[in-house]
Symmetry: C2
Subunit: 342 residues, 2 copies
Amino acid sequence: MKSRQVQLVEYPRGSVEPRHFRVAEVDLPDPGEGEVLVHNTFTSVDPGMRLRLRESGPEGYFNSFPLNDAMDEILTVGEVVESRAEGFSPGDEVSHAWGWRDYSVVKAGEYSLGGVGTLRRLDTSIAPAVKFLGPVGNMALTAYVGLVDGAQVKEGDVIWVSAAAGAVGSLAVQIAKLRGLTVIGSAGSPDKIRYLLDELGIDAAFDYHDGPLVDRLREAAPDGIDVYFDMVGGDHLQAALSVLRPWGRVAMCGALSEYESPEPQPGPTNLFQIVANNLTVRGFRASAYLHRQPEATQQLGAWLKEGKLAYKETIIEGLERAPEALQRMLAGDTLGKTLVQV
Amino acid sequence: MKSRQVQLVEYPRGSVEPRHFRVAEVDLPDPGEGEVLVHNTFTSVDPGMRLRLRESGPEGYFNSFPLNDAMDEILTVGEVVESRAEGFSPGDEVSHAWGWRDYSVVKAGEYSLGGVGTLRRLDTSIAPAVKFLGPVGNMALTAYVGLVDGAQVKEGDVIWVSAAAGAVGSLAVQIAKLRGLTVIGSAGSPDKIRYLLDELGIDAAFDYHDGPLVDRLREAAPDGIDVYFDMVGGDHLQAALSVLRPWGRVAMCGALSEYESPEPQPGPTNLFQIVANNLTVRGFRASAYLHRQPEATQQLGAWLKEGKLAYKETIIEGLERAPEALQRMLAGDTLGKTLVQV
């Protein structure tokens, strides 16, 4: 059997472009003992993938993608076609980490993406399979853990979430609202700001293109903020450190501003504010908090059913357009979760 | 009555020099109701003072020193000469925050230096008064809180302490050893390295002048570190972030590398390691943890009496030499706690 997969042919310097990838047709072995054959339906496009499109990425992070080979460890959902693994049957809807291809042979129990990507049958009574790449999946876990463990939010806190119209950000702002926080969001276009204010109903929002970030933030939060949910790093983190109140917290999730820089970017010049105001900056990866997955899935699944949680997806059709989807997401041209329909 | 005090005449750009200060003779009022007159014996010289020698310092930090006026809020010990405050009598040894002068009129109960500097009678059964500017005073509290609350150290952790031969660092490395950690220290001269290894008995030490910091750190800690006690910032913090293991912690106490820079210095280029390895960076100021003062004083006082704690002081004699003492300390030319004997 043949399978189509996206392969990286060159590590991009600067912006990601479709020319850095190709679609290859490869032989797919029959599933062996303990394996299943999955027909993938949706595959994920995540900002953090950019860090793996480098010959050597951050130490301790997921491995770099190899050149001219399958890009492993990308979250995906699909339907089991054939199973030689106990507990999985044809027709089961599953998630796994062998995405950016149309069919995958997946070993049951094989640990991947820090556990997040391990083959798992989906409970579609909670939500349709595709939502397990979003509001009841890893995005949910990331937003939930960022607030609960990363920032240790309390009712009444004033929180700023950057990249707030994105997959994680749009969940984080809504969970924060549901937990009784005052929520400020930032994003990169007027459409996104309208979405945040009108559809997600957060308290204040601004476009980071509109003049000095720290001024916009101070306007939105005249008395300062208690929490910054950082998806961007760089100038965003610098602004947050200036505006965080004593005992403030930063949940550090990503650094979008740096992902496409060919050279390492210097950090904020005002890190001393961490000392001056007794701040805590905590980095976190959802994969390190898998014990939270059941509660995050249940909680967000319930809110989703009750209509308390809005969730947008930008779906690009066709496996061959996955690189274009990544390019558009990194350029800020997508809203909510970016997905490829295989 | 006349009193001599050191005054700042110019905000230094770059290195601090004695010419930025002068000694002024001023009239000292008689102590009013609730006040005491103190003859100061030792006055403190702290790295953080450098941040207050700027027209505008970090937001939320202690106020900048004014020009041509008394430099308030500097820790000092002395003896009460005259008291009009309940609970204080002539001959009492006290600490307060109205240093860099020979005599001070101090209001009992007046909150200063975040509480640390509030007038306090010293229990000299624990240690001589001068030690309350060091191993049983604010330095002790800083080292103790940095380990306990900032870094939340556990037995078995591998810790790196920068500026380890300084007032806080030399206590931090010893407390860490006494708590069962593996301790690596860095400092800026062969003498200091010998002191760390031979007198304080830590596990490894290196001079930060000896080639790439990250290489020296990796040699000292081939399996990485769990905790970094940061007194330096800049390249030291960058090296720590590269070598910290998953779930590592940074207790951020100061940023010596930046204090004398006329321009704001960029932060490390590898802050993403905070995300990649689920790190926590916690800034702290001793003054925010005053509830720890009794236990820190008791614990360190006991260790000091038992001979388990070594402590060096560099004492410069003469109030007029306080600026020189500060200059030398910032240049790394002093060992242990830097003090001025008034």
